[in-house]
């Protein structure tokens, strides 16, 4: 699905180079699109000057402020200035805190990335373990039950699942902390929330892949040669299911990031999502803008790396494109 972009006229070197070049072009285009959108939206959001100045400011104060911010310049010039500043890593100052918005955002980035990476890894491992167990059970009923549970889990948005976890484990049972990032125990609920959401997403795919390979010659041959079921599933069927899994994981990373941004509010997690939502509440648009741009850039770079991994792992990408 992801491999369908066609920048066919770029005939550079081998197919792998061409594939990777097209991905880099797309990455640059995407970052450019995000920045342009942020610029347009910032202009549509209304005049920031009135928000920045005290109520009793005179028209002269407003004009002076507009001149300092370059808002009296023609639009294309503002756009060029904005892009140039963004290239230097400057996305304006926070209206409420005065500090450069990007600095405030970078400060919060580790907490978010940490949560994302840990949940992603645990979710992926859980999905694989459960799918392998289902395949080894050799029971369609067990597999169907797993799929029903997965679909049910998928119908609960992460923020909602997080609240229900707090209700059960913090309010009713009182065994786990509900808020903040103070101890290892405070990781359990948010990680569990994201990880189970992922399991739900990938279980269906892994099941389909296993069902397809179950009937194929390489599986039958391996079984005929006396390999154990476990060995066949883990050494033969699983590797074949990993490539589609990477593709779908790459596509769903966006859903995961979106869920995470909202989830941080539920657990009062001191990450980027919490910062963005606070920015919205305090009408601090530069913070919202910088937060979204930084997450989008990190996200796009991760996708680029996944694509490159894909090109290295899958020989068909080298030949087909």
């Amino acid at each position: 699905m992801v491999t369908s972009i066609n920048i066919g006229h770029l005939q550079i070197g081998s197919d792998v180079t061409r594939f990777i070049t097209s991905r880099i072009v797309r990455t640059v285009l995407t970052v450019f699109a995000v920045l342009s959108l942020a610029f347009v939206l910032a202009r549509l959001a209304g005049d920031p000057v009135r928000l920045m100045l005290p109520q009793e400011a005179t028209q002269a104060d407003v004009d002076a402020m507009r001149a300092t911010l370059g808002l009296d310049r023609p639009l294309w010039e503002q756009y060029a200035t904005f892009l140039a500043a963004a290239a230097r890593g400057d996305l304006g100052d926070s209206i409420r805190q005065g500090a450069p918005a990007v600095d405030l955002v970078i400060e919060r980035l580790p907490a978010t990335l940490e949560l994302a990476v840990v949940s992603f890894a645990i979710g992926l491992a859980l999905a694989i373990a459960i799918a392998v167990a289902g395949e080894l059970s050799r029971s369609q009923r067990v597999r169907n039950a797993m799929l029903w549970i997965a679909t049910t889990r998928q119908a609960i948005p992460p923020y909602l699942f997080g609240i229900l976890m707090i209700l059960v484990f913090s309010v009713w049972l009182g065994v786990l902390p509900a808020m903040g990032r103070t101890s290892y125990a405070s990781y359990v609920l948010p990680v569990l929330t994201i990880a189970t959401f992922e399991v739900a997403l990938y279980l269906r795919l892994l099941n389909q892949e296993f069902a397809q390979s179950r009937e194929q010659d390489f599986v039958r041959t391996a079984l005929a040669k006396g390999a154990s079921r476990a060995r066949v599933v883990i050494r033969h069927q699983l590797p074949n299911a990993l490539l589609p899994l990477i593709t779908v994981a790459g596509i769903n990373l966006g859903v995961l990031v979106g869920g995470l941004v909202v989830l941080e509010t539920v657990f009062n997690w001191p990450g980027l999502g919490r910062l963005i939502v606070q920015g919205v509440e305090q009408r601090d648009y530069p913070i919202v803008q910088a937060g979204v741009v930084v997450i989008a850039v990190v996200f796009v770079l991760i996708n680029l790396i996944v694509d490159m991994l894909y090109a290295v792992l899958d020989p068909r990408v080298r030949i087909a494109r």
């Binding site: 699905m1 992801v2 369908s4 972009i5 066609n6 920048i7 066919g8 797309r26 990455t27 285009l29 995407t30 699109a33 995000v34 959108l37 942020a38 939206l41 910032a42 549509l44 959001a45 679909t151 049910t152 998928q154 119908a155 609960i156 948005p157 992460p158 923020y159 909602l160 609240i163 229900l164 707090i166 209700l167 309010v171 596509i251 990373l253 966006g254 859903v255 990031v257 979106g258 869920g259 941004v261 909202v262 509010t265 539920v266 963005i276 939502v277 920015g279 919205v280 509440e281 648009y285 919202v288 803008q289 979204v292 997450i295 989008a296 996200f299 796009v300 996708n303």
Partner: protein, 288 residues
């Protein structure tokens, strides 16, 4: 004659529907049960007498469900009737989701038809636009948009529609590309049929069922996003009730009255699960 024929026709139709239902996948049955509850809540409850989502009564705040005859599902922190608010919020979520899905289905259908049928550079361009759009997490995109532009229900429908068309575009394009090569299309083309004729008589008819299945699924996706936005204060603005905001307000009273959270949570779950099971059931019935 007609007086006799009519009930017979109706009975036959009812039998037909009954047998269609028996043949359908189990997920369809679950979906229908869930969606019936949701539809009663969204369509029937708001027109019942005594439904008032805005009236505050601080003397009767935080009543538990089923404890007060006047407020079947209890009252919130301002003494507003929870059932009334739940019904209106569910209706609003459903309206926004259906509207947004309609917008994205139309955009995706047009893009997919043009890209798949024309091919070439236009196709490459449209798909590249889709790729770029998919490369940015939708929730983030919506957060900056709504923070800048505001969030009236109409605007939410448009923004949610604009950010969710790519799935349709890709599915329709892939189907059109394979249909284009089939005999009934090449025959029509060689007989002199225009592109619009082929699209209207052959392509649309074959693509629409899949678009419907995808739409059922997308309603769940859009409700997930919309309720998340409302939850962080970026969706429907108070005092208009919305499920996300009710959950946000309920979370503050999780210790004392969890029903304020659980009831809207249940509505969100029934909406999303209902549409997703429906989409799965339709897919399976179609595959048979």
């Amino acid at each position: 004659m007609t007086a006799i024929a009519m009930p017979r026709g109706a009975a036959a139709r009812a039998r037909e529907m009954g047998s269609a239902l028996r043949r359908s996948a189990p997920s369809t049955h679950v979906a229908l049960a869930f969606l019936t509850i949701v539809l009663v809540l969204a369509v029937v409850v708001p027109v019942l007498p005594g439904i008032d989502p805005y009236g505050q009564d601080l003397g009767a705040s935080m009543r538990a469900p089923f404890s007060d005859g006047a407020h079947l599902l209890g009252t919130d922190q301002l003494g507003r009737d929870v059932l009334s608010r739940l019904a209106l919020a569910t209706r609003m979520s459903l309206l926004i989701a259906v509207g947004a899905v309609a917008v994205s289905a139309v955009i995706g259908l047009l893009v997919g038809l043009v890209a798949g049928y024309r091919g070439g550079r236009l196709d490459a361009f449209l798909m590249a636009v889709g790729d770029v759009q998919l490369a940015i997490p939708v929730v983030l995109l919506l957060i900056v948009m709504v923070a800048a532009l505001g969030s009236s229900p109409m605007l939410l429908i448009v923004l949610l529609g604009l950010t969710n068309w790519v799935a349709y575009g890709r599915v329709v394009r892939a189907m059109v590309m394979s249909l284009r090569e089939r005999e009934f299309v090449t025959a029509a083309v060689s007989a002199g049929a225009s592109a619009t004729w082929v699209v209207r008589h052959h392509l649309l008819r074959n693509v629409l069922p899949q678009v419907m299945i995808l739409s059922a699924f997308q309603i769940g996706v859009v409700i997930t996003i919309e309720s998340s936005l409302s939850f962080i204060g970026l969706g429907i603005q108070p005092p208009t009730p919305s499920l996300g905001l009710m959950i946000n307000e309920g979370q503050r009273h999780l210790q004392t009255d969890p029903s304020l959270t659980i009831l809207p949570a249940l509505a969100v779950f029934l909406l999303i699960a209902g549409t997703q099971f429906l989409s799965q059931g339709l897919e399976r019935t179609r595959a048979r």
